[in-house]
Symmetry: C2
Subunit: 185 residues, 2 copies
DNA sequence: CGCTAGTTTCACAAATTTGTGAAGTTAAGA
DNA sequence: TCTTAACTTCACAAATTTGTGAAACTAGCG
């Protein structure tokens, strides 16, 4: 397992508190991380990627190193590496080289959810392509062709709605930010 | 990718025929079924359920027996049974007992997509619960708490939008149906 | 009441996925 | 240029998932 890590952490970490992140209850936070990660897994995300993502989300800085992630999640550097590969592929975290060090730092994107929704657009387009071919193979006047055609119409509707939805979100978000700033923070 | 399809469509379009479902090209239909099923799998559905669902979608009657599904997909009755269990759990197909026979018939629901979207509502609610607990554990004034809170806001926004979207879909759908009927079918 | 077509359940084998240790690679700093 | 911390890749073992055959049910029909 990661005994070396724990060992060296136990031996060298002087004030053994890497959660100088305020006064939070690490146990409760870890529970949140695991629970939210599990829900992401249910939604189709790979387990380790979900855990890494949730862990970053729940960190104060929003930026963690590979070693920190490994320690908090009790997994090997290899596992972290694999998870990060996926997460940066789908653009939910980005990699930054920490200047004056050889460590990478991984940052959660702030508009991850917006971006994730936006990516749905491409997926929908791909599905629609398949469905169009299906209608052609089935014959558009056959009952099956008509049924698949209805599915196609639904996804086209969805795709159009998605654009509007994202637009409204941007407005909503900017509005909230304006309010927040106005409140003098 | 779909080069075989295009090719064979271009060159051999008319003849090969073994299905009683009109004049369709079973080979092309099967390709559609597998391709669409694969996309459903990418989206998180279990493989066999996806194949069964796609197969039903591409059938003229919209209703198939276990034996028919087994034959078309080349799988055992046990596999069909498992797939149907899942699909009826999530309410994408329903089971009907064929009168005067001991065979069951499985039918795709016509408003499957609408229903599927509607079910998202519950999932979102569950996620929001987790996120609220997370904000509490992290402290709502901590940077992490604020970040998780923003995620919560996004999902709340999404949930509200979903309601409107479904409403608009129902209108859109009813309108289309009215047009269809008016055209005298 | 059996008899049996049809479905479901169960134990298991095959296939896939996941995470690890260790070797390999890269690049910062001397 | 060399050393070495840090990341990545790779081969493999563990765990999980998936589909099968066979046995166990269910319910029409005689």
């Amino acid at each position: 397992m990661s005994e070396q890590q724990q060992q060296s952490a136990a031996r060298t970490a002087p004030p053994p508190r890497e959660s100088r992140e305020g006064t939070r209850d690490d146990e409760a936070v870890s529970q949140f991380v695991e629970r939210f990660a599990a829900q992401l897994v249910d939604a189709g995300m790979q387990r380790m990627s979900a855990r890494v993502f949730a862990c970053l989300l729940a960190s104060d800085s929003g930026v963690l190193t590979s070693a920190e992630l490994g320690e908090r999640l009790q997994v090997s550097p290899a596992a972290v590496s694999g998870a990060i590969r996926y997460l940066s592929q789908v653009d939910m975290v980005s990699r930054e080289r920490e200047p004056g060090s050889r460590r990478d730092r991984y940052r959660v994107h702030s508009d991850q959810w917006y971006e994730a929704m936006a990516r749905r657009d491409n997926i929908l387009t791909r599905w629609e392509g398949t469905l169009r071919d299906g209608v052609e193979s089935l014959g558009e006047d056959s009952p099956a062709g008509r049924r698949v055609g209805e599915t196609l119409v639904f996804f086209e509707f969805l795709q159009k709605e998605l654009a509007g939805l994202l637009q409204r979100w941007r407005e909503h978000r900017d509005e909230m930010r304006a309010e927040f700033d106005a409140a003098g923070r």
